[in-house]
Symmetry: C2
Subunit: 459 residues, 2 copies
Amino acid sequence: VTLSDIFHPESIAVVGASREEGKLGYAAMANVRDFDGPVYPVNPSGEGELFGQEFVASVADVDADLALLCVPAHVVPDVVEECGQAGVGAAVVYAGGFAEAGDDGEELQARAVAAAADHDVVLLGPNTSGFARPAEGLFGSFVPGVTEIEAGNVAVLAQSGGIAHAVAFHAQREGRGLSAMVGLGNRANTGFEEFVEYLDDDPETEAIVLHVEGVDDARSLVQTCRAVETPVVTFKVGRADVGGFAESHTGALTGDHKLYTAAFHQYGVPTVDSTTQLLDAGYALANSPEPTGTNVALVTAQAGPGIAITDRLKQAGATLPELSEATQDAIADRLPGITYTDNPVDTARPSPAFGDIVEIVARDENVDVVLVYELHEEGLGYPTETLDGLDEAVDKPILFATGGLESLLEADRAALESAGVPTYDTPERGADAAAALVQYAEHNEPSGSASSGPGGASR
Amino acid sequence: VTLSDIFHPESIAVVGASREEGKLGYAAMANVRDFDGPVYPVNPSGEGELFGQEFVASVADVDADLALLCVPAHVVPDVVEECGQAGVGAAVVYAGGFAEAGDDGEELQARAVAAAADHDVVLLGPNTSGFARPAEGLFGSFVPGVTEIEAGNVAVLAQSGGIAHAVAFHAQREGRGLSAMVGLGNRANTGFEEFVEYLDDDPETEAIVLHVEGVDDARSLVQTCRAVETPVVTFKVGRADVGGFAESHTGALTGDHKLYTAAFHQYGVPTVDSTTQLLDAGYALANSPEPTGTNVALVTAQAGPGIAITDRLKQAGATLPELSEATQDAIADRLPGITYTDNPVDTARPSPAFGDIVEIVARDENVDVVLVYELHEEGLGYPTETLDGLDEAVDKPILFATGGLESLLEADRAALESAGVPTYDTPERGADAAAALVQYAEHNEPSGSASSGPGGASR
């Protein structure tokens, strides 16, 4: 199986393309109309052009690597067969009514899989709203607006197309991009493992975030996540009993949540509990040096949010080590009268020295991950210059949680992000992202530094 | 004690007002310069004008209801004494260095409290960044940008000034307003109880949200929250051990988190675990009919987010009752071929019938709270017309979680909010807000309907 016909097709056929707005075959065609390669609207009853492309009667009439199947479920097996005969390498099956919909649907899905197997066709779906590959200008989804998703370095791989799009649009609203967005749906012949492995080799992808409802072979999924080099984060749904609803969705049981979590945890795959945490954790991992330990230092300009963050970090299992004497002395030198020089460091207000304090703390050898909180204040802004490149210089993740008026912080926050500092717009989002880094480090510590010894000061 | 001199002063003195930008006395003066009443900059060494107001040498020279004390900690007791003698009714003490800062600070605070007691002066603080009363154009805070906080019907009452401002700015970023924002700080002579009681009588306040680090008399706080009619939600920090840091902040121990949570829960005061949940819960309670039971119906246009929401609701203790046969029949009539007519109702895609489905479900007598999820689709938008007034018509909260591209959803979402429907921009935020309504209803059920009996269908 190769997914290159999904992610790097040279040409696309939209089977069931339609000129009728509101139809699937119109929406899917609209989203690929600007693709940099031939796009063929396929419809035996189609006449004339659609988005400037002439209709063709059959997929056999064209040379397409990728087919987007905008056809009803009952004809999907035959269309997959036609695609296979025509040399199509991959097909996205949007229709529902397959394995998630009882015995008849299961049989239909089995027939589609058999047709695909005969001709080595990779299937995405059925029962998905599709995928996107923003950097390639490739939007194989029927959801309006998907073409506005921007390119980035986090790949979203969701069992549910709805979740995939919800997360992608959330990223877009926050000015973040994605290397790929995939809604897997029923995973008829291609699932998490194939996509995770493919994306692991993708030079654009620096972190992979998974939304998992349930899979038949959890062990295989966990081992794949462990084997790849790219950091993986998972949001496994189903702590409570959502079995019936979930099964009706993508035809999968949710399984035992605790077993999944324990297995992921054991292999250094952070687990989170919401789409926001998933996005935030992926963004932190993709844009930071690899965290090598679980010791977090917090530098805050406001005590209240700092306490809330500390509380949340500790609940998540992070350690807040004491800072070295040298660090504490340097802080006291730089900011006489500081409220709290121990970890967390509380500067009581933003000040021109704030960036220096962050740098002093980041250079402390007891610290593996730095989290900063600063409510934006007009006139002071952020210590962007000091933080630019600091994470690489100290080889540690530095995350920045903040807040303030949109009108005041927008430009400054964008500048901070451009300097490579992942930012988060509430105390808890920053804390949760740091907690995911800690989870990641817990079982990915480089050999020789697995334990930091008493006092946390031995490394 | 009356807080009317804080919330409804006719005149304000800014003691320690300064023409030097960056100084507290400048920032505080800047934020009250547009107050609709006399504002007096007080400074013995002040000359000329500040923001068009002539400096006065002493608070004794003017008639002020409210004084904002921009002076160092060590002079605060004397300044409070002067204010008291001059007939000032309330003073905001911004300076830190009191009870949170060891024995000397405690003594200083005791002297300030004694001076206040001699003259019946209400103190806000010390050790706070202040308060805001947007509808009155009153911004007694030194934090830049605070004047952009808009008027609304949720009051934020935080032990930490930093949290108060972080939550208020978060609200502002999301287009929501507040009836009041208060950072309590050290609560020298006025604390949660006085403010909660005052705000309970405030016609602008429909919900009060509390951020609590710790109080000496937890029982008193809980009983106050129970006694008032206005819904109260609490974010109690300190699940993990943050004792040392917290005590250094506002001089209070965080106490036993479980005891707080149990006590709040017993009295129908929802507890949440983040600033975002706090804001969202307050917004739901302030803008909905009072929830009278714990049965939640979910109507979703996308299965994946629906499953994630269901999972989160169930973890939070919500019940998702079966819908009546009549409801299920009506749904099937309106939307033939619907994926899942049981609760949750999954319409599989947005459609023109979506609003009707929500209305059918909202009218089901088994349902106490309705949560909707719909990823925004261009061309379809939201069923705003159908939902306008529906919550009042069925006398049940109806919350709406959504997602999509900012550029597409912004206007439609604003219209939905204008129609009185609280909206949330991720699946989990909607679920958490609904869970808070359930927590509220759990111990506030009207007499005679405390139990819904087997099957949940008896009411």
